[in-house]
């Protein structure tokens, strides 16, 4: 049996097992184990990549010429590795985190978490828009119970908003966009070089706008509001789903649509400017809003919105180096942001600090957490010697290649803003006036997974070259 199908089948049956054996202690451990096995699957796929890549497996055809089918390409592989590795780290973190916070119904939590990761993996594997759409909606529906997990008034309202935005945009914009693609080209498969022809410019442009607005998971303005509201969820959800799996799926789909549905040639003179404008606007406005947020989680959420727009912007520039930067940033932002979220979660549970203004002097009781938080923040700002610098470097190189110098100003401005809102989070824990005395100590179970991610990010910085060469060979043919 094909390894991609085995991976999905494994995840699917794991969901069933978790559903049938709903015991609090079993679920957590089993969930950790499942994520570990999933990582092993991904390793196998990585090592046999040349055999499995671009091999389409059709599951069944329920709409003519638009079957449910899966494949893996190099762009997918990058996202796959990152999301599964981080899933494993968060799985360890989550067991401890849920214990400390004394949530009940932990069994349900793990089931929906697993379904979400199943949907994410399926999105990565999907080989056409229909399959993507199906698992895109599944991901929305499966994360809803996680957003409303606390079941209080606030989370129920946030959950409603979450669904309004994500389901609404997907029904009103994304679905017709896919149907237009289908009518126009008779196919919805991701194809190297795109399937749109440059003949009918108006329809292409309409489809592009619908796609860009429809994939609201990428949190481009004006449909970004769901992301901050989703922050009521427990930290593991905010970290893995709303900094990596869900939002990155959105961006991943947009990259795929730009490269493999429209194709660089068609989109170049047909709407790339629209995406660039929207993304630039989003990245700057989101950074300004982030500056005003005092809640740590909200500040991180708006930062995510800004950074996602970076990735979309980099793709829409369409220069080889900028696309490279997009793929790199997809992975690197995930690493950095998840460290920030997990550290923020530790701080919130251990010393009960949820606002930036209260962070003064927490490094005395949580030294490692503060260090990891700073590392994450530095990656986000993009300072050397961290991985964030690499992607920013290539992005600027791409901009220069494409002769869009004005965008350099956008990048510089947003970097300054990034630095401005991250600086207090680095400065205050270490050097802030510590007038309150925290007596709590580090909890190693919570810190270790974050440290592992930190380690991965450091290793990646030094081995970035192999990574880059791989992407260059595979994506920038």
């Amino acid at each position: 049996m094909n390894i991609i199908l085995s991976h999905l089948a494994f995840l699917f049956f794991s969901i069933l097992i978790l559903y049938l054996v709903r015991k609090e202690n079993f679920s957590g451990a089993a969930h950790g184990l499942i994520s570990f096995i999933s990582v092993i699957f991904v390793f196998f796929i990585t090592f046999s990549f040349h055999e499995v890549s671009n091999n389409k497996i059709v599951l069944f055809e329920f709409i003519e010429n638009a079957p449910i089918s899966f494949y893996i390409d190099s762009l997918g592989l990058v996202f796959l590795i990152i999301s599964n590795l981080l899933w494993f780290c968060v799985a360890i973190y989550a067991t401890r985190y849920l214990d400390i916070n004394k949530y009940d119904k932990k069994g349900d939590f793990y089931i929906f978490f697993l379904i979400s990761m199943f949907a994410t993996n399926a999105i990565v594997y999907s080989s056409n828009l229909i399959t993507t759409f199906i698992f895109y909606e599944l991901l929305t529906v499966a994360t809803y119970p996680l957003v409303t997990f606390k079941k209080d008034e606030e989370s129920v309202n946030s959950g409603k908003k979450y669904l309004y935005y994500l389901l609404g945009t997907s029904i009103v914009f994304l679905l017709p966009a896919i149907v237009i693609t289908y009518i126009q080209n008779g196919s919805v498969e991701y194809t190297q070089g795109g399937i749109f022809s440059s003949s009918n410019q108006i329809i292409t442009f309409i489809a592009l706008i619908l796609f860009t607005l429809g994939v609201a998971k990428s949190a481009l303005m004006p449909f970004h509001k769901w992301l901050p509201t989703a922050m009521v969820a427990p930290t593991p959800v905010s970290a893995l789903l709303h900094a990596v799996a869900v939002v990155k799926s959105g961006v991943y789909i947009i990259i795929k649509i730009i490269l493999f549905i429209f194709g660089i040639e068609v989109i170049k003179d047909n709407g790339a400017v629209f995406i660039i404008l929207l993304a630039s606007f989003t990245t700057i406005i989101a950074s300004i809003i982030a500056l005003k947020q005092d809640s740590i989680k909200l500040r991180l959420a708006y930062s995510t919105i800004g950074q996602l727009a970076y990735i979309v912007l980099a793709t829409a520039i369409l220069a080889p180096f900028s696309i490279l930067a997009a793929v790199l940033h997809l992975a690197f932002h995930a690493l950095g942001k998840i460290m920030l979220f997990l550290s923020a979660g530790i701080i919130a549970t251990r010393v009960n600090v949820k606002y930036v203004s209260e962070m003064n002097g927490i490094s005395t009781s949580l030294p490692y957490t503060s260090l990891l938080l700073s590392l994450g923040a530095i990656i986000m700002v993009g300072l050397p010697p961290t991985i964030g610098f690499i992607s920013k470097w290539f992005l600027i190189q791409g901009i220069i290649d494409a002769d869009m110098y004005i965008l350099v100003a956008v990048i510089v401005l947003s970097t300054i803003l990034n630095a401005a809102y991250y600086f207090p989070m680095i400065y205050k824990p270490f050097f802030g006036p510590s007038n309150n005395t925290f007596t709590y100590k580090e909890d190693m179970f919570l810190v270790l997974p974050v440290a592992l991610i930190g380690l991965i990010s450091v290793v990646l910085f030094f081995t970035a070259e192999t990574f880059i060469i791989f992407i260059e060979q595979q994506i920038l043919l």
Binding site: F62, I134, V141, G168, P176, V179, I183
Partner: protein
């Protein structure tokens, strides 16, 4: 094999008088269930035969066609026949204690009789090839429907039945008048004969008048906006098992007659294009979808909310059919079957939880998720189907509807369809939030029978199955649509 069509009609009709002499409700119920099961089984065989071998034309009493009555089982009629007989069986099978609870003991045998006659009437409408015979069967089904509706033990039941009776009679008069005019013009009542002769008749105003009258009659029967008034009260105050049955069938019959008469019988003279009839219905449907969805969001009573939702969904069915392209007819037929399955399931779930409640309010749903996890799990999946989440039947419907809209000349109205279909989500979510996130002090609970859970699970399974494998819905609908469109039925 050639006797199958008449067998399907006669079996329930023969059982009906037998029930009158029976006293034991238990035996009655099992007899009816068995007969309906046999009937359903026969329709499956008929479907197999018609789809793989040939159409069956059965001449009743061996009188040759234009003079005698003929039954015509082609793929279009069998498609609807399966829906009717399946829903009838399912509702009776799951409705035993519902009927005991809600229907007066002394009239319960009459209830079963009316049920059987209603099923026969529906089947007859679908199978007959004679336009006057169609009217007769329509009356059989209508009269028994009025009785079924009146059997509810709610305050409004009698009024609802009377209202239904008045409006239904008006519809019948319109249809009868129209049939009379057609007979006058063509001198025949046989549908295939009419189809041939109508193009020879001078294309004049009286034919147009006949078709207009027919359209109004059918519009009432299929709850076409703005002729939908009866449906809300009827759904709200009928015995819940009747509501469940009607939600999947009675309005769909209207759709069948519409497709049969206007696309098949009068195909040659294209009545819908002339005088902008189709355009008129498209605008009315769009308006109806908007209004009824908006009212559904405001509505606090569950049954009325679902009834309003039905009006909107029927609006989609009519809307895409009136685009007059094969894709539109496909979408229409696909949505007929998918909406039947989903809405019947939703009504069934409500019915078995609120055995004897009048006016079920939104607040009554609070905390049900904990009390009835299985039923409510099904309810959620069916609701997701109604919203149109992928991997449910609703998504397939939506795909075909959007496809048809975008391919038609009315492509700019796609936006209305999309927005209203998103609005569906608002009222569905009100229910789901109450079910799962609110708690209640009311600790009474109804014992749910296993067979009821089985019935609703069948519908849920179908919802998911039709969302994955479309060979039974979309493929069949597509072949029917092209046959109808190119006059090759």
């Amino acid at each position: 094999m050639s006797q199958l069509p008449i067998l399907i009609l006669v079996l329930p009709m023969l059982l009906a008088p037998v029930l009158l002499i029976l006293r034991n409700v238990g035996i009655m119920h099992s007899l009816v269930t068995i007969v309906l099961f046999i009937n359903f089984f026969l329709t499956i065989i008929l479907f197999q035969h018609v789809s793989s071998v040939e159409n069956i034309l059965y001449e009743v009493g061996n009188w040759p066609a234009p003079f005698g009555i003929r039954l015509n089982a082609d793929i279009l009629s069998v498609f609807f026949l399966i829906i009717i007989n399946f829903m009838s069986l399912l509702c009776i099978a799951s409705g035993k204690n519902l009927i005991e609870e809600q229907v007066n003991k002394s009239t319960s045998n009459l209830f079963y009789v009316a049920w059987l006659l209603c099923t026969t009437g529906f089947s007859g409408i679908i199978l007959t090839d004679d336009i006057f015979n169609l009217f007769v069967f329509l009356e059989i089904s209508s009269l028994s429907s009025y009785f079924l509706v009146s059997q509810g033990n709610y305050k409004g039941s009698t009024v609802a039945a009377l209202q239904y009776l008045f409006i239904g009679s008006i519809a019948a008069v319109f249809i009868l008048l129209s049939i009379g005019i057609i007979y006058m013009q063509t001198g025949t009542l046989n549908m295939q004969d009419i189809s041939m002769k109508i193009s020879l008749v001078d294309y004049n105003n009286s034919v147009m008048l006949a078709l207009g009258l027919f359209l109004i009659g059918i519009g009432i029967k299929s709850a076409m906006f703005p002729l939908h008034g009866w449906i809300i009260k009827t759904y709200a105050y009928s015995p819940s098992v009747v509501t469940t049955f009607f939600s999947g069938t009675s309005t769909k019959i209207g759709i069948y007659i519409l497709i049969r008469i206007f696309f098949d019988v009068f195909n040659n003279i294209t009545p819908l294009q002339n005088y902008h009839l189709s355009e008129l219905i498209i605008y009315l449907s769009l308006f109806g979808i908007l209004v009824s969805t908006a009212y559904a969001i405001k509505q606090q009573e569950i049954k009325k909310m679902l009834a309003l939702s039905s009006i909107a969904q029927l609006g989609y069915i009519l809307l895409v059919a009136m685009l007059l392209i094969p894709e539109g007819i496909t979408a229409s037929l696909v949505h007929v079957i998918n909406h039947s399955v989903i809405k019947t399931g939703l009504f069934l779930a409500i019915a078995i939880i609120f055995l004897n409640n009048q006016n079920i309010k939104l607040d009554d749903l609070c905390g049900l998720g904990k009390k009835y996890p299985l039923v409510m799990g099904n309810f959620i999946i069916l609701s997701l189907g109604l919203i149109g989440i992928p991997l449910t039947a609703g998504f397939i419907s939506k795909w075909y509807i959007v496809l048809a809209m975008l391919k038609s000349e009315y492509w700019y109205f796609t936006i209305v369809v999309l927005i209203t279909s998103f609005m569906t989500f608002f009222y569905i979510w009100k229910m789901i939030e109450n079910i799962y996130f609110k708690s209640t002090d009311n600790n009474e609970s109804v014992a749910i029978k296993n067979y009821q859970i089985a019935c609703i699970t069948i519908l849920t399974t179908l919802t998911i199955y039709f969302g994955i494998d479309t060979s039974l819905t979309a493929d069949v609908a597509e072949s029917i649509a092209y046959d109808v469109y190119y006059g090759a039925l």
